[in-house]
């Protein structure tokens, strides 16, 4: 379910790091909690983000949620496809539904994030809380 080469935050964002560039999105769990996504707001290319800062907002039929950057860096690309097809976040949260790419300024931060196994356990715990 959760790709092994990603790192995950407690706020349900994922980051995939390749050659100093981190691709960021929200997890399958997050999209299923939000429901149908109708609008996505992302920052402009060139924006500097610190880990924990707001990337933007995701609006679903149920709620508006802030998305936080799991790592620090400068925005090098945003997923323009989401402007006309925000449902990609629901359909492919770990692939075509990515939000932004960052040039990492502090790659060490990623080690503080969860790996796939830890996140899977974290989500299982969350789901249990919900059904309880």
């Amino acid at each position: 379910m959760y790709p092994a080469d990603f790192r995950y935050s407690k706020d349900h964002e994922w980051v995939k790091i390749e050659a100093g560039i981190g691709t960021i999105g929200i997890t399958d769990y997050a999209q299923s909690e939000l429901g149908d996504v109708v609008f996505v707001e992302v920052p402009k290319v060139g924006t500097h983000l610190k880990a924990g800062q707001t990337i933007g907002t995701i609006e679903s039929v149920k709620a508006v949620s802030e998305v936080y950057s799991p790592v620090s860096g400068e925005v090098t690309a945003v997923n323009d496809a989401l402007a006309s097809a925000p449902e990609k976040i629901n359909q492919e949260p770990h692939a075509g539904g990515w939000l932004i790419k960052l040039k990492l300024s502090n790659p060490g931060e990623a080690s503080a994030l969860m790996d796939s196994a830890a996140y899977t356990a974290y989500v299982a715990e969350k789901s249990k809380e919900h059904s309880a």
Binding site: E41, K44, V64
Partner: protein, 448 residues
Amino acid sequence: MRYLPKSPSERREMLDAIGVATVDELFQTIPEKFRLRGPLNLPGPLSEPEIIDYFKARAAENSSGYTSFLGAGIYSHLRSVVTDALIQRGEFLTSYTPYQAEISQGTLEAIFEFQTLICQLTGQEVANASMYDGSTALTEAVLMAERLTSRHAILIARTVHPEYRQVLQTYARHLGITIREIGFSSTGQIDRAALAQESFADVAAVVVQSPNFFGVTEEISQLAEVAHAGGALLVDGITEAVSLGIVKPPAEADIVAMECQSFGVAPSYGGPHVGVIATRDKFVRQLPGRLAGQAFDAEGRRGFVLTLATREQHIRREKATSNICTNEALFALAATIHMTLLGKQGLRELAEQNLAKARFARAELEKIPGVRRAFSGPTFNEFVLEFPRSVKMINAALLRDKIIGPLAIGTAYPDQTKRGLVCVTETMPRAEIERLASCIKHILETPI
């Protein structure tokens, strides 16, 4: 919603729950010098008959029998008794915000119709319903442009209504927005050469008004090109909605901020009015204010709901697009009924009458020796004339003939003390226009 005061024991309970000893403690963040000590300076309570007498006395202060040539943002137009009769129906007059769609279809459909009509008139794709008035609509349009472009400077024409510019200044003062004013040329339009000299580096929007404060229409499509070339948006303000019956819709503008008082709302005491913002569909997320949308219920029947409420304060708190969280629903309804009664052809005829009467008045007044047009640009139902004497002096004399004369624009433009703004709408009889001309002629022939 019930408005019941709290009992002392309930207050105590609430204070204990949040761990505060007195209500005063809640206001500690407000500096002492700003806190109200002692009662407000208000008159005491009155009984119902006293209230009625009071308002009768105030109403008696209204002067009657005067002919007014004032416009400048507030226009005297014919209003149908149908409009007043319909908006006074309890279902409309006393209704609250239609959050609950299942019991508010009539109100929501009326709002939807208002938005649709405004879009048709302005050539824009989406309109809100509504803003307080034209001046706050213009300011909110500027704030929208700032959010959309992430730029913080505004180039605004000095031909925009001076009071609208003041409202914008008030908002901008603490928002980090820089406002640069652009002068006007001999046509009475924004000075295009001066605009071309400006650096557009941090410019969010070029703001104009058309017809502008001098009654002159601006070249919206050309100005849009200039703004867009600089990476800025074009905001067009409209104070005289009736002009849209004949003036080309400002479809090339990115945001249109409009005052709809001319559509069925009496000039009253200078308000209340009804503003609206219309814009492109792609900017809808940054549009402030209420928005009704068409939807379908579970059985596929057409219905209406408030939509995109996530822009608004009751959902998004400090991240809302605006801190304006109410509107002029009843007057938006009045405008809708008024527009519907007129129809497309009716609005065009109304606009043509305004244009024809204003042209007649201008020709009559220009016959007076020493009186000439101040600006050469095309006008609708208002125009600026230059007189050989101060306008205030002329007006003082006109008042004796029960004529409220041209607006002395020198108040807002100190170098223009001999210039006056004349407004002539469909309500003005020909005989009164001729009387104005003969009175001014007589005044100017009389030695000072």
